[in-house]
Subunit: 424 residues, 2 copies
Amino acid sequence: MKGQIIAIGDELISGRIVNTTSSFAASRLFAAGHVIKKITVVGDDPDDIKEALLAGLEESQFLIVSGGLGPTTDDITNESVSRALGLPLERNTQVESQIREMEEELGEHAPEQFKQKLVMLPKGAKVLKPDGHMAGYELKYRDVYMFFLPGVPEQFRLLMVEKVLPRLNELDTTRPYVAQRVFKLFGLQEIEINLRIEALAISGKGVKIGYYPVFPEVHITVTVIGESEPEVLRHLESAAKAIKDEFEEFIVAESDEGSLAATLGGLLETNGLMLAAAESCTGGLLGATLTSVPGSSGWFDRSMVTYSNRAKMELLGVSEATLREFGAVSKQTALEMVKGARERSGCECALAITGIAGPDGGTPDKPVGTVFIALSVNDTELVHRFLFQGDRWQIRRLTVETSLDWLRRFLKYDSVLPGYKPVE
Amino acid sequence: MKGQIIAIGDELISGRIVNTTSSFAASRLFAAGHVIKKITVVGDDPDDIKEALLAGLEESQFLIVSGGLGPTTDDITNESVSRALGLPLERNTQVESQIREMEEELGEHAPEQFKQKLVMLPKGAKVLKPDGHMAGYELKYRDVYMFFLPGVPEQFRLLMVEKVLPRLNELDTTRPYVAQRVFKLFGLQEIEINLRIEALAISGKGVKIGYYPVFPEVHITVTVIGESEPEVLRHLESAAKAIKDEFEEFIVAESDEGSLAATLGGLLETNGLMLAAAESCTGGLLGATLTSVPGSSGWFDRSMVTYSNRAKMELLGVSEATLREFGAVSKQTALEMVKGARERSGCECALAITGIAGPDGGTPDKPVGTVFIALSVNDTELVHRFLFQGDRWQIRRLTVETSLDWLRRFLKYDSVLPGYKPVE
């Protein structure tokens, strides 16, 4: 079945909030073989909602509509649907008893005006989750299945996964088989990746390759759509193998959920190494990135975030003379930081970062973006100077990614250089 | 003028990439008084692109179209525009000489097939930035001004700000005056905020109030649209004052660029206090959040990210007996962590965090989401237990926000409790 997503909200059309819910729905629908042809965003305006709905009904077999179901005054989806499709609003007893139960549980009473809004749904609406406090409903109009979901991302995602997807899978048994592999690359430009993949001349029925810069990485997707599962999987594996062979060392993760940090964690664990970090300009972002991986306590010991010079001396043993002579942002300081992190933590492995993330603090010798990264693993100690481009956020992200990638390459290939080239 | 945004790309329609560029464009256009009625996303499909273009031309006075302008094989916007509007592709000499200059500068030659794609633009296209390597073009079709921009966020944003906005401002001198204020609140539910604002009965011509949960905050916008600038500003100030008075202590930032961390930094600076942190389950996220603020070295000294028990003992002086008797996630450990952070840093102010972010590691006594936060300022030492709901990412974000907010409240109001209520 072909479908559309309609997202409603002034916060979306005015750009205050990024439309993450439609992307979430699209990705889940796509993975299940449902075809989304269009995503439309309109504001909290009855006429615009009506027009988007009528166009959607004309062009689709199913519609996912999000936003405007809440109790606040800017929530007008139910009224708009009622007007646009000529379906009167009716009191929904399921929602009513649900609210009553919640009130009893909490010992609090919601204001009457809020309850009225939540309880009145367009005629024919079937509540999706009658056992929870999140409404959302299915409404069949002519031949089109419509699903109305709250715009709050957590509620939207839950209903999408638990209710809408299973229902669509049940309604559409003839959908094609879709399989996808994702590779995340760091250290190559999108254009170079594309050129090299074109040269591979990957063929196979229904194979499509996509390129997506996701700062600071480039993600490659291999998607295969077909009728026969074994055939789809065969084409997918063959294309994925060709890409893996071509980009091997640049691949920092091999799935959508995967990440460079998780890949590095796996390598540290396999090698029985514990990692310590010493951070200055990243201010904890290296540690936060590493510990975003569940189970990171198995390979990550500590990070000493030494933002001040005194902290660098006290926590890492950087000498005052080094700081005075070469400055906090220098090869010498980075080396003393990484030595200190190794010695004081007793870890086999350490990374140290010191640099200028901007927007202020740059000098002609050391402009904004100048970052020294030092690595120490067993008997090897290395330091490089980098010059990263971008704003404060980008420089910090590039610094973290480069340091993690360098350690990944070092552990995996014994290569002394990171994929992102240093300036010295 | 009324306009639409059309974003083109399989990565968008399949939900792999969130459509941040359209939000960026919408927010800038909105702020300048241009009206966006619809955002449409379609895939790299000539028919879908054609349909979206023709509908957009029908309904709008201007169109912003992004994506599919690059050299890779999945970039098909130019061909699709040419077909849809019957405009032949013509060699653009500006783009051609631009590429030649770049090649000379870099000493490298781009493959011929890539150059062909970049150089051939629909008849009538006027290149937006003839002096840079980013193309993008304006194309007037009948009475509609169309702007075609690359989908890569950095390039899109640059052209949007430097070229498209000034051009639209020049074309449309009758647009209304728009002014907006943003308040970021933490510690209240959206529904409660809405109810309290309704009770304020804020009036004024053209005043509109919006509510947007942006985890873990709720953002309120006050937007005023009108013909007269002084009148718009008067209504805005009066509504903003009412909201500020009502929510005072819950407001963690008062602008779109503002953040809780920056607000806290300002308070620390005003009070001449330096802050040290001791983090366990947040793994550096507290430090990273604080140092995302430019100039944070003026009030942030260090964070000791003590993920292992040994690190807690060595870096913070937490006693082995405490860890053994009460565990790493306990009131006692949190207190010893905050004491250690104060003593070892010499800072007047410290925050300490220890908890279970999940998904594993929970026990019946201390389920996932259990977090102890301790605060120490001058002679005051406080610790609370929290039970946060959500996934690993949410629990960590809530922990950081709650600890920063607690310190903000303490410094501003001498209040001993954070806005987000502890369980003990």
